[in-house]
Symmetry: C2
Subunit: 257 residues, 2 copies
Amino acid sequence: MSGPSLQGLLLDLEGVLYQEDAAIPGAVEAVRALQARGLALRGLTNTTTRPRREIAARLAGLGIPLGAEALFTPPVAAARALHDRGLRRLHLAAAPALAEDFAGFELVDQAPEAVVLGDLYRDFTWERLNRLFGFLRGGAGLIALHKNRVSRRGAEIALDLGPFVAALEYASGREALVVGKPSPAFFELALADLGLEAAAVAMVGDDIEADIGGAQAAGLHAIQVETGKFTAADRDHPRVRPDLRLASIAALPALLA
Amino acid sequence: MSGPSLQGLLLDLEGVLYQEDAAIPGAVEAVRALQARGLALRGLTNTTTRPRREIAARLAGLGIPLGAEALFTPPVAAARALHDRGLRRLHLAAAPALAEDFAGFELVDQAPEAVVLGDLYRDFTWERLNRLFGFLRGGAGLIALHKNRVSRRGAEIALDLGPFVAALEYASGREALVVGKPSPAFFELALADLGLEAAAVAMVGDDIEADIGGAQAAGLHAIQVETGKFTAADRDHPRVRPDLRLASIAALPALLA
């Protein structure tokens, strides 16, 4: 990873720029310094329940200067993928608040060209799944906002979206386009959004597999910060080794200088 | 397929022995002749909604002399697989009427050693699936009564059991044992039930893929009858070619004489 060739950065949000309800020390200044250096930035998050405008508002409240247009979320990636494919009629089976991330599309309940699927939790009934399957049988493509197997819900490890994506893939005999880390498609769509090649971009993240492994699989450089989810065990990860490790994002601008 | 070495037959029921509400002409006499010749017979069906006692009663009503102990269904195969593995505590997530096919097992709603999964149709809710997933996380194995993608429900092609098996497989990261044609495990369990090797047994069926292809994949001989689901297009099937084709099961005894 050579500094001069680097033109863009993908920044994970939680654990890299902020933690719980506060910016990570030095993160605000780091983002400003990277912007001042002319690097193209995108905040890259797997959040699938809130539109990017809300995420930007939250970041602004923490003093982090990344506007909505600088955020790349699975819904934003899905919108880009649909646009690239010339598809305009979509059925949004996800948090209703995400509708604003699909401005310019026609949101329909009949004969969609694509289904955008998020975690419907207890709304994953047989009837709902069968209706979505009907859309796929009618020729609609399936875009999944992620494919996580399980998630913690209260005290319980419970089914996440992934098993329902798998069910619809099996029923239809066709694979979903999965957007969200660590899917290579997600990183590729983010690169297209930046208008940069993988070799000119580094991912900065705390999650050794989703951020670092995912970015490297898509050909990007990858920098792990020792904040957020980072643990000492990441140093001995059996498969993934970041190009660089930093105490926190605060150290990044000096390093790229 | 040489007559003298043949010691057992697996007979598909619908389309081979009966059609709608009547025995296929000559089927009753054929079954009697095959029994008189000392061949071991098993009626092999994918029915997963009724216990074998009920199926035997229906056959008896049509004059077909195959008792419950001569019927091999997915629930019966599941019971045999559980027995072979020394598992006794099972959770039955299937038609309640099937409980009698699991006599000798303990049917439980907590901490099962295995989950036997049938088509729950509209009872496939998030809560129900998540509960089954909890059993799998607790170490229970998953036995699926089949893995069909879709089925006709009234006027509609709709989700069958298979997509929900796929969902639980994806969530748990482990494959289900699928019993029911064309799964090789189903034919192998039927052979164990007969106490015969594959080379000594022929499957007689009307379905070119489930019966003929499935049996051959498990090493059995396979005879297609030109009744039931048979169509002329089966003669040009791109992958499957039966060892023998007969106008109907009525022709079988003379052929084996």
